[in-house]
């Protein structure tokens, strides 16, 4: 019996290109599809010198993805999700920044675009499952019947943090063929399979902000919309003393040290952002330490829900080593209380808290 068609999400980068090449080499019928998410030309000021290659959706990357598909010898299509991406990812990103939060658009994109609209598109063209180049693993727990999300074998590349929002249905229809590999092995395989982009560099920035200047993006985007402008505000200390003026709360994130425009004689950090008054509170490093916080918009992976306190390892941003914590249900079923064993720096509203048991994702939510 012929194998079922799989749709491979191809970004034009090495990882997803290797996924396509290896699945094809295994005799798996696949169709490559590149998601057109954002028109880089819309805010051309944000394209860094030398172009935006390596950031998704630049014409160069679509070109690369198509070139890979043609070299590998698979059908390939570009699918346009720009409308949905702007509505679900870009607009909330901007809204978060001007509301004093620090968003993670990649997670939202995973939840609402890559593992939602793309899965739908795959199904519509006749592919029941999708494969992507994420460094994470999906396994089925035969005793509970639940789909598990585990860290990628290459811990330095692990992307499970960005995938905590996947539902059981989404996990059941997705595969991450690189989850068991080291990045070096992926590059080597790219060469072995003659993947044209084997030596291409990597993108680390958010795809629609190719130069990494989020504040500029927020301003240009609001400018383009013409319906709102960012409001100025002041930097204050814990006692409420005004220290400096600033160009809008979207320039700041909790824990930020640089670009505060104040001199306190000792290192100063953003400890709190008050969007309603436009105040950015700064203080000492010690003032940044917190032990407990709450999360909302929960998603559970290895467990169906949280009924009782649970000891976990918690991660509160991508570049953060998971640390011991206890998570507890609260009176509000939509919220969970998190308490670290020891105080942590810069627990930032808008970021995700993701809980692990070993290398398996228990679930997570968004820091309030």
């Amino acid at each position: 019996m012929p194998k079922d068609l799989i749709a491979v999400a191809m970004s034009g980068g090495v990882d997803s290109s290797v996924v396509a090449a290896m699945l094809h080499a295994e005799g798996q019928p696949i169709v490559g599809m590149t998601m057109q998410l954002w028109n880089q030309q819309r805010i051309p000021e944000l394209i860094p010198e030398g172009g935006a290659s390596g950031r998704c959706c630049s014409l160069d990357d679509v070109y690369d993805a198509r070139h890979v598909a043609q070299t590998v010898g698979i059908p390939f299509y570009v699918v346009n999700f720009e409308d949905r991406f702007e509505k679900e990812v870009v607009a909330p990103f901007v809204e978060d920044y001007i509301s004093g939060r620090t968003p993670i658009p990649c997670t939202i994109c995973n939840n609402l675009i890559k593992f939602d609209q793309f899965l739908d598109m795959a199904k519509q063209v006749g592919a029941e499952t999708i494969a992507t180049g994420h460094y994470a693993r999906i396994e089925r727990d035969e005793t509970t019947g639940r789909w598990l999300l585990r860290k990628g074998v290459d811990e330095s590349r692990d992307q499970s943090y960005f995938l905590f929002g996947l539902t059981q249905d989404q996990l059941s229809r997705s595969s991450f063929p690189l989850g068991g590999m080291q990045k070096d092995e992926v590059r080597a395989l790219a060469h072995k399979l003659n993947v044209p982009v084997a030596d291409k560099g990597e993108s680390r920035e958010i795809c629609f902000v190719p130069n990494g200047d989020y504040a500029q993006f927020v301003e240009k985007y609001l400018d383009e919309k013409g319906d709102r402008t960012v409001s100025q505000g002041v930097v204050v200390d814990a006692e409420g003393n005004e220290l400096a003026e600033h160009g809008g709360v979207h320039h700041f994130t909790v824990g930020q040290r640089k670009g505060l425009g104040v001199a306190l004689g000792k290192p100063a950090y953003v400890t709190e952002i008050r969007p309603a008054t436009g105040e950015v509170v700064v203080g000492s490093k010690e003032a940044l330490h917190r032990t407990s916080f709450e999360i909302e918009r929960l998603n559970w992976i290895s467990i169906p829900r949280l009924d009782e306190p649970l000891r976990v390892k918690a991660k509160i941003r991508y570049q953060f080593r998971a640390r011991a914590a206890t998570i507890r249900p609260t009176a509000d079923p939509g919220r969970v209380a998190v308490e670290f064993d020891a105080p942590q720096l810069a627990i930032t509203p808008g970021q995700a808290a993701v809980f692990y048991h070993g290398d398996s994702v228990i679930g997570g939510g968004w820091i309030v």
Partner: protein, 387 residues
């Protein structure tokens, strides 16, 4: 997998007879058509035979034809060339909202250069109303550009009437005939056009060659520089083999125009009726308007054209949704928006365009396949809105 091509408005395969005609130009005739020696004269002879063949297709004097590198280039040369050559401080151009990007973007370039441009709307018929053009005309109008047949709908525009109206205010008239040349009879005198653009690869000639008819006495500026080719109007060494191909294709098109129009028209009608009968809740865009015999544009309520196109392609049927663009991204068609469809309705439409090679068997196998694919997509549609 057996493949079936229903996208002849995008491009056509080279007719084997056209290829045969081209081979001597590629293998044996190596000269530059502008050279004085016998090699050059051999090449020139081929170019001029081709010019006569194209002239016969559109019923003009061969001296009125300029060979170009594409239909897009012919449109650019016509519009930029005519407007820049026109006299006057305040220049004004009238075109329509359903033109091909080769015309639309050239007009936008003119706007950037300070020329005023009006884009006349069309209604659901996909036909430009003569009165709307008249309303847009001004004393300073120097050019009116209206396509002969629309690429997406096939709708045929009232060229002769509009050309007459343009001339009444002293403007030149250009038509983009890329989609009609070879499909509809063209007589430049009867149409009353001053400029007419056509493209080789839409009529079974190779890609990379086009032609512009410039009525005797009409002055256009050249838009590229480098030599005296094509009577100084299109510098650049002639693409001899391509031009020979265009000539041969034009001759074949002229010979078979009426029979092919009947044959393809019958296939198109069968396809259209077959789809309307076997697929619920679909419609033909601009169905009551005069259309090129090979084109139908059909909307499938409640589904997206993009996955439908991909699903059909994966099953071996090549169709189109909107105009393809260079990055391969499918954008909602400006033509469908112009006839009053909203964005999501426009996205649910596909274009099927038949050609010389299309057979009844192919139409029937498309009719066998299409209803189940549409049904499957519709069955999946609710899941998408829940998600």
């Amino acid at each position: 997998m057996k493949r079936h091509y229903f996208d002849h408005n995008a491009t056509t395969p080279i007719d084997p007879r056209v290829l045969d005609a081209m081979m001597p130009a590629l293998r044996e005739v190596s000269g530059n058509a502008s050279s004085i020696h016998s090699y050059g004269q051999d090449a020139r002879r081929l170019v001029e035979v081709a010019r006569l063949q194209v002239a016969e297709l559109v019923h003009c004097d061969s001296k009125e034809l300029v060979f170009t590198g594409s239909g897009t280039e012919a449109d650019n040369l016509a519009i930029l060339g005519a407007v820049r050559a026109a006299k006057g401080e305040q220049k004004h151009v009238v075109t329509t909202a359903i033109e091909h990007p080769a015309v639309l973007q050239t007009c936008q370039q003119l706007e950037y250069e300070g020329v005023a441009v009006d884009y006349v709307d069309v209604g659901p018929s996909g036909i430009v109303a003569l009165d709307d053009v008249r309303t847009a005309l001004r004393p300073e109008t120097v050019l009116v550009s209206v396509m002969h047949a629309n690429n997406e709908l096939g709708t045929i525009q009232p060229i002769a009437e509009i050309a007459e109206a343009a001339h009444e205010v002293g403007a030149l008239f250009h038509t983009d005939a890329v989609q009609s040349a070879g499909k509809l009879p063209i007589d430049v005198a009867a149409l009353g056009v001053d400029l007419l653009a056509l493209s080789g690869h839409k009529l079974y000639a190779p890609k990379g060659v086009g032609a512009l008819y410039v009525r005797n006495g009409v002055d256009i500026e050249k838009i590229q520089f480098g030599g005296g080719h094509e009577r100084g109007r299109r510098p650049g060494t002639e693409n001899v083999s391509g031009i020979v191909g265009l000539g041969a294709a034009a001759q074949l098109a002229a010979e078979n125009l009426a029979t092919e129009a009947d044959r393809q028209g019958a296939l198109r009608d069968r396809l259209e009726q077959g789809i309307l009968q076997s697929v619920a809740d679909c419609w033909v865009n601009a169905s009551d308007s005069p259309r090129t015999p090979n084109t139908t544009n059909i909307g499938f309520n409640g589904i997206e054209g993009e996955p439908l196109l991909i699903a059909l392609d994966l099953k071996g049927f090549a169709v189109a949704s909107g105009a393809a663009c260079s990055s391969g991204v499918v954008e909602p068609s400006h033509v469908l928006l112009a006839i009053g469809l909203d964005k999501s309705t426009a996205r649910s439409c596909l274009r099927f365009s038949i050609g010389k090679g299309t057979t009844e068997v192919e139409v029937e196998s498309l009719l066998d396949m299409l209803p189940q694919v549409v049904e499957r997509l519709r069955a999946l549609a609710p899941a998408q809105t829940d998600a």
